[in-house]
Symmetry: C2
Subunit: 254 residues, 2 copies
C-alpha cells in the first residue's frame, strides 16, 4: 500500500472544521470524497489536527493509503478538479509506511490575525478578527513571551476533548504589526482544544490592561481558565507551518 | 440642503453591481436603506460609476443630500451599524452644492488582479482571476503602453449603454508582478462599459501571443471588438483611486 501525504490550503469559512461529523460539511469529508473519485476506492484521510469550524489553513497536511498507481505529481491536479474552490491541494508526496500526518508532526505554527483599526475592512470579514480599540503590540509581545517554554496550558484551553496531559512546549510566540494587521504567530509541539485562540484572547486582555504580562506565569500555574482571556473568534486563525520527523523523513511545510 | 460625500469600500461578490435594479440586490440599494435609517428620510445616492456584478471597490465615492444635522465624523460609524459586513463607509465629507460623485470625477483608477500560478489559491477565489499558464508581465506592459493616450476605445467595450463618444484618455497603465499576483492598474478620465476588463483580457492575449503589442493601435483604430481580447471575469476587478475637481474642491481618494 502506498502512503501518500497531501499538502493543502483551505478557507475554513464554509466548513465545520476538519473532522468528519454526522451532519455538517467538513474539510475531511470533502477531501475524502474528491480523493475517492480519483483513486477509485473509499479513502480515509488522517489530518494533522482538528481545526475548528471557520478556522483556515494556509498549510495543512493529511495522509491516506491507496493501491492506485497515479503519479504523485499528477494527484494535486486530479484532486483539484473534484474539489470546491475553497480547498486546494498544492502538493502530494510519497511517504514511508510509518508516516502519519498527526503522529509524525513534531511542531506546528498557528497564526492569528487581528484587524486593529477604528473602521473595519470588508475584505477581512471572516479572515481576521476586527478589533477597533488600539492594541499595543509591545505589551502583547511581553505577554506572549510568558507562554514560551514548557508549561501546563490547562488555563488556556476549552474542556471538551480527553487528553493525557495538558503540558505542552511553546517554542516561539511572535506579535507583529503591519499597518492595521496584528499577526500573532505561535509554534508549539502540540495545541490543546482552543489553546491558540485562548492564548490570543489573553494577549488582547494584556493589551487592554485586564491582566499584566508578569501575571501570566501564575495564571498558568493556577490552571484557572476564567483567569485567562477569552477564546477569540475562529475566522482570524490560520494553520501556517508544520514540521515532520520520522526515522525515515524530516521536512518542513510553510 | 447639505451635500455629503461618502467614501466606501466593498466586496462586490454578493452584489449585482452598484446600481439599483428591479430584482437583484445592489450596493446602491443597500447603502440607501442604511442611510435612510440614519438620516430619517429616503435618500438617493449618486455613485461614482456603475460597477458590474462581482466587481469590488477598495475606494468608491457616493454623494447624497439631506437636511439631517448629523456631524460628518459620526456618519461612518452610524452607517456601518446598519450595513452588512461586506460594505463599509470609511469617511464622510461635507461637499459644496455643485459636487456630484460622478460628474465631478475627473480621473479613476481600476486595478485588475490575476492569480498567475499553476495551482490556485483558495483565498483569492472571487478576488483575483486564476490563470494557470505563465504570463510575461513585460509583454503585457508593452501592450498596456499602447492604450495610453487619447483613443477611440470602441474595440474594448461591450455594447449595452448609450454613450455620446467612445473616445477616452488613458493616463497610465501599469503591469506589476508581486510573486504570483499580477496587478494591472489603469487610470483614465472615464471607462466605457466593460472597458477595464476588455483591456485586461487584451493584455492576456498579448502575453499568450495571440496579438502583438504593436498591433493594438490598429485594433483600436479599426474599432472591432472581436479583434481585441476577451472580457475577463468581474471578480478580479477593483475600483482603486478617484480624483475630483470642482470650482470649489479638489481631492484625491486612494
Amino acid at each position: 500500500m502506498r502512503n501518500i501525504a497531501l499538502i493543502l490550503t483551505y478557507v475554513g469559512t464554509a466548513y465545520h472544521g476538519w473532522q468528519v461529523q454526522p451532519k455538517d460539511i467538513t474539510v475531511e469529508e470533502t477531501l475524502e470524497k474528491a480523493c475517492a473519485k480519483v483513486v477509485g476506492h473509499r479513502v480515509h484521510m488522517t489530518g494533522c489536527g482538528r481545526t475548528d469550524a471557520g478556522v483556515h489553513a494556509k498549510r495543512y497536511v493529511a495522509n491516506f493509503r491507496t493501491e492506485s498507481t497515479i503519479p504523485v505529481d499528477r494527484l494535486p491536479y486530479a484532486l483539484n478538479t473534484h474539489l470546491p474552490g475553497d480547498i486546494v491541494v498544492t502538493e502530494a508526496r510519497e511517504m514511508p509506511e510509518g508516516f502519519n500526518a498527526i503522529g509524525s508532526c513534531v511542531k506546528k505554527e498557528y497564526t492569528y490575525l487581528i484587524y486593529n483599526s477604528r473602521i473595519r475592512d470588508p475584505f477581512y470579514v471572516n479572515r481576521a478578527w476586527f478589533y477597533p480599540k488600539h492594541l499595543d503590540e509591545h505589551i502583547m509581545q511581553a505577554a506572549a513571551d510568558q507562554f514560551v517554554g514548557t508549561h501546563d496550558f490547562a488555563a488556556v484551553r476549552s474542556v471538551g476533548t480527553d487528553v493525557r496531559s495538558t503540558v505542552r512546549t511553546v517554542y516561539y510566540y511572535e506579535v507583529e504589526r503591519t499597518g492595521d494587521i496584528l499577526s500573532l504567530r505561535v509554534c508549539a509541539n502540540g495545541f490543546l482544544y482552543n489553546m491558540a485562540r485562548a492564548m490570543a484572547g489573553t494577549l488582547v486582555w494584556a493589551a487592554e490592561g485586564k491582566i499584566r504580562p508578569e501575571e501570566l506565569g501564575a495564571i498558568l500555574r493556577a490552571g484557572d481558565r476564567t483567569a485567562a482571556g477569552p477564546t477569540v473568534p475562529a475566522g482570524g486563525l490560520y494553520m501556517t507551518r508544520l514540521w515532520y520527523e520520522t526515522p525515515e523523513v524530516s521536512f518542513h511545510v510553510e
